[in-house]
Amino acid sequence: MTTRTIKVGALARVEGEGALKVTIRDGKVKHAELNIFEPPRFFEGFMQGRAFTEAPDITARICGICPVAYQMSAVHAMEAAIGVEITPEIRALRRLLYCGEWIESHGLHVYMLHAPDFLGYPGAIELANDEPEIVKRGLAMKKAGNQTVATVGGREIHPVNIKVGGFYKAPSKEVLNGLAEKLKEGRDIALETVRWVAGFDFPDVERDYEFVSLSHPHEYPFNEGRIVSNRGLDIDATAYHDHFEEFHMPQSTALHSRIKGRGFYFCGPMARYNLNFSKLPAVAKEIAKEVGLGPACNNPYQSIIIRSIELVFAFDEALRIINDYDEPAMPAVPAVPRAGVGHAATEAPRGMLYHRYQLAVDGSIEQATIIPPTSQNQATIEEDLTTFIPQWLDMNNDDLRWRCEQTVRNYDPCISCATHFLKLDIDRG
């Protein structure tokens, strides 16, 4: 019996730590295991007893890459719990803030983390050595995203302007108009980005996934919509626990998610794109057509193209919101505590982020549940590895490790912020 173990040791990083181990036996992938350290579990515990108003600021600390997503799911869940309806103006500002975060996150992932995999570079630094102008494009886009988050959220990281009911202060039309110039440049760069990444070589693989994302009747989803799938799921966030379950897999410390009675699923840009293509703006549909990507895509390696198309969408949507913007008379609606339970799902850059809170009559948090997209995708990532890797077993260990990492990075898990895994152990039994 021949055993070959591809093991990637502990990844040190504040917002996410993980390890990857793939065991190959007699020409088959016997086991693929991605272990992810899960900060939300700690936060669920220590939020108990805190005021409902604190949730957006506390949960923002879970992740430095997607604090806005945590804030958005938190405020929507709290508003559901206490029965608050926000105004259309506040809703639009929240979408604008989310555009900024998608731009930051996707810009970083496409240029700094994922593109080097396709171009044969160990990382973004080596890419920058050879192609500085390309890397500068990525930095310029990300900067526009930072400026959007800073303008609406008060600062670039862990925004401070978000509260249950709305914002502490709404930006002026003039300030947003200034931002629009940067966003127009960003949209042009995003279009170039789609053309660039569409020219990469992609492994010719597909799987029949169940895609899950929010879906809104008229909009590409951010903060609002039903949770739907391509296999008939169509539920409100309040029914999340009726249809989804978390469970422990043997030999893994991280919780996995599945649809009850059915199995694992795929959330994130690929899911959003497949389920919501018709709601993309014309500029995004046109660039998809130009590069030959249809409304359906089942090749996870092409997620880099979809992330780039979502960049085009996010810039375009931000410009639309700014164009239509009227400063709200009040930046927030009053949030009065009461006992209740609130659920919300919003679309973080890397997929659906679900929050549920149970509040006491004084608004203190009795129970909190946070289910981040990376843990929802974990089993699907492992299935990709067991399904795809056997065809590449003739690769040497370095190349195979590289392909495994690329496969994980298709999902932009938080751990991918460590540009490359640290350690490889090979055990040939």
């Binding site: 990083r13 973004a124 920058a128």
Partner: protein
């Protein structure tokens, strides 16, 4: 008032124990430096592309960050990185992954690294969520701050 030409960046995450060392140093420096000292002090969470952007255009940049390299807890090391990279044992310093060492090399590749760039790496011991700075790292922060005040005073005399 002189146009500030030196940027000091305190890097870290105050929610993760000694990972907040750089932020603590920045905070102390803000208390100690006069506004007209020609120096700007900022805090940063350590993401590389944001650091590249922050460093661009300055004559000199000093970075204070926590490290987890196996050195003695509470010790600190100083690296002049304007022309040479950080040593490999600090490749994952401060546990940010795509962080300070990558920012320095990315800036170098893009020709935007200031000619004078110095990194203070404070060796941490506790990086747990919600933990305070350890006693030894608090002492190291004080020592680094004094060193920076001394060196910037000389440079800007």
């Amino acid at each position: 008032m002189a146009e500030p030409r030196t940027l000091i960046i305190g890097v870290g995450n105050s929610d993760r124990g000694d990972d907040g060392a750089g932020l603590a140093a920045a905070s102390r420096l803000l208390e100690r430096l006069r506004i007209d000292d020609g120096i700007r002090v900022i805090e940063h969470w350590g993401e590389a592309t944001g650091l590249v952007d922050a460093m661009t255009g300055w004559d000199e940049v000093l970075i204070v960050d926590a490290a987890s390299s196996g050195a003695t807890p509470g010790s600190y090391r100083i690296f002049e990185v304007g022309e040479t990279a950080l040593p490999s044992d600090l490749a994952d310093m401060s546990s940010h992954g795509f962080g300070v060492p990558q920012a320095i090399e990315l800036a170098r590749a893009l020709s935007s690294l200031p000619a004078r760039c110095r990194v203070y790496a404070i060796e941490g011991v506790v990086f747990d969520i919600g933990a305070p700075l350890s006693d030894v790292v608090q002492e190291a922060v004080k020592a680094v701050v004094e060193d920076i005040l001394l060196s910037t005073e000389v440079m800007h005399a």
